[in-house]
Symmetry: C2
Subunit: 406 residues, 2 copies
């Protein structure tokens, strides 16, 4: 009894088999191998924040309940409830520094993940070349490959002591000259926590306009910036309104990932295409949850200020502890709740390190290859953890790394 | 200032421009035209159920709140929380009449819409031919076209008085002989409310096995069946386990659409592919909402029995009222909350009828072209409405149709 179910090419592309040469297997196979590693006790997952220690604002659940109890519609337009979009457009306009039209330039999505998937789908044609920061978010390259696009990796330079992080602008220009029609990067950067400053943002804008490219900038962590650092929104630069798609969401700083909410701001025609695809792929952001966005970016400034202070303390303590060990070196995050320790000194590859941290220390981390070829020798940790558990985890981490080094 | 943002082919395909010859424009353009029609008063939307009149079970919101208050995880595996999957696999096994493994054969999705999108993406390769029931759910053909697949429409015969509805099996066999590798249909059928009986289901199973095709059966409405009619799950037929993907969800009968939950049961390799795509397109079903599925299909039998009785009364009253008018003829739904009146006697096309119903009666209906070429001359209504508002709406509907006929 045959079963003619073969894997469609676009699904096979998700595995990133083209990394086989450096990794010895596809990225997806390497992840599956890591999934199989066992640990005798209770695993601690450092791939995300502890939302029990750092919960959502107190008004989120009551607002959800009011909507689910009859205050909200169950069937909203695909791009989101009209009243919610009005409120979000107002606060997003203030946040980005540009006027966002609630009806034409904004779409609410089920998480910023969906905004990323829909945004790329709306602009990347089969065969297109995309200039992608390296390292950058785990799903970027997979979505581009799902769409049949090709990737030109543009180095992110984040680990030069005493220099501001930046994109390699020569690399970006080469990619554009080679025909890249889309630029994609996260700012603040996931996985490194680097924040690109105004100078780099301006240069990206200039190159995008000069080479007539669309830019997708994933600003999911743009409220989670430390040391009072200024943050520059690409969309506010000259000439960017018609070619910039900005991805935002309350999943991280505000710990609302469990509600599946995100938002994208972009040119009218791009938002239309994103809605057309949303309408057949997932319909809409969860309808009752949409209503909690009404107070997002608006009534939560004290909450966010307090959260940044707590995370910043964890960042400082984490960077000090890891750097003092002499086993890894880490550039303190300027934003996000992630850091990306360089483990070159251990003398083991990132997969071996991730497997040992899971098997021996009970710690789940993201191996560096998930974020691009330049992620190698690194691993990603989320330091937004309960303080005492995190101290114990770092002890186990360093002890395991010490053991590997021998 | 150029902006090199053209519409990618797969997004353009969503518009179903190939219907231009019969419709005079793409399906999407016809929808946009309809969206522009104004009405002086408050619109009543008959494209979905009134979930204020027919709300979700009383335990849903408390269960959600408990999960969101710390009882549930924010970051679940992409295919869904392990504990929830265990509970769902148990109740789904009892419902379908086959043993479903919670770890390998089940995925929780953000609505059954996502299950449909992911399921098709997991089996349809660029250029593949899909045998699709006609009429059938509004998104089916769009998703297939997004994936670069082709559609062979197989007539659904639902409007023969005194005969059980069936798929045109000769048409299905021709499609399979022409190379169709996937069969897709909804049962109960959306938009007609027809329920395919055991004889037809068995024949579809036989043909699928003979021609080595995958079958996706959208059973979103399979709990909403009237007159005590028996319902046959395709997956329970011989040889179907390895080639049948069953889509289920609590959005309709149970009015939980606002929570964005769905489920798919299928062969292990297909579920793996669906999860790989879910992980990059939307991550997971909303995490806290997943927990309300624990009692779905398990503790809600009395609730569903009562709901079916209420809907059945509305069905009877609606069919009697419309058929007595002499303006339209309608086959009473055997399942779903939809009916698909035949408006041939009006002498106007479905777009003209939909526009008039919106502009003159304030009623939003789905014009028949949305469901396939054979939907023409029909429009779809959802009769799950508050009783008095529905009576008034039917008065306005018939009065508008009478006006059109003159």
């Amino acid at each position: 009894m045959r079963v003619r179910s073969r894997t469609p090419a676009r699904i096979a592309n998700l595995a990133l088999g083209e990394r086989a040469s450096s990794l010895g297997m596809s990225v997806r196979d390497a992840e599956r191998e890591l999934d199989q590693v066992s640990y005798a006790g209770q695993l601690m997952d450092l791939t995300y924040a502890d939302t029990h220690r750092f919960p959502a604002p107190s008004w989120v659940l009551p607002d959800f309940s009011a909507a689910a109890s009859g205050g909200g519609m169950t069937y909203t337009p695909y791009r989101g409830d009209r009243t919610v979009r009005s409120a979000v457009a107002e606060s997003v306009s203030a946040f980005l520094g540009v006027e966002v039209d609630p009806d034409t330039e904004l779409i609410l999505t089920p998480g910023s993940q969906a905004a990323l998937f829909l945004g790329l789908s709306a602009v990347v044609e089969e065969g297109d070349l995309v200039a992608l920061a390296d390292p950058d978010y785990i799903s970027d390259e997979r979505i581009i490959r799902f769409l049949g696009g090709r990737v030109d990796h543009v180095p992110l330079i984040w680990d030069m002591p005493d220099r501001e992080p930046r994109l390699d602008l020569d690399g970006l220009e080469s990619a554009l000259k080679a025909g890249a029609s889309t630029i994609l990067f996260s700012n603040p950067n996931n996985p490194t926590g680097a924040v690109l400053g105004r100078t780099t943002i301006r240069e990206i804008a200039r190159l995008a306009a000069e080479h007539d490219a669309i830019v997708i900038v994933d600003e999911l962590y743009s409220r989670l910036v430390y040391d009072g650092r200024a943050f520059s929104h690409l969309i506010a630069e000259d000439g960017m309104r018609e070619r910039c798609i900005t991805l935002l969401g309350p999943s991280k700083t505000e710990s609302m990932s469990g509600y599946r909410l995100g938002a994208a701001v972009g040119p009218r025609d791009v938002i239309d295409r994103m809605e057309d695809l949303q309408g057949v792929s997932v319909l809409r952001a969860p309808a009752y949850a949409q209503h909690v966005l009404t107070r997002w970016l608006s009534d939560d400034h004290d909450f966010v200020t307090h959260r940044i202070a707590e995370y910043q303390k964890l960042r400082d303590h984490t960077a000090e502890t890891l750097n003092a060990s002499g086993l890894v070196s880490v550039v303190p995050a300027q934003g996000t709740a992630y850091m990306f320790p360089d483990a070159s000194a251990i003398g083991a590859d990132t997969q071996t390190i991730a497997k040992a941290l899971k098997h021996d220390a009970g710690l789940v981390v993201n191996p560096g290859y998930q974020f691009g070829p330049r992620g190698d020798r690194h691993f990603r940790i989320c330091f937004a953890q309960e303080e005492r558990a995190w101290d114990a985890a770092m002890d186990r981490m360093l002890s395991t790394l010490r053991g590997l080094q021998r």
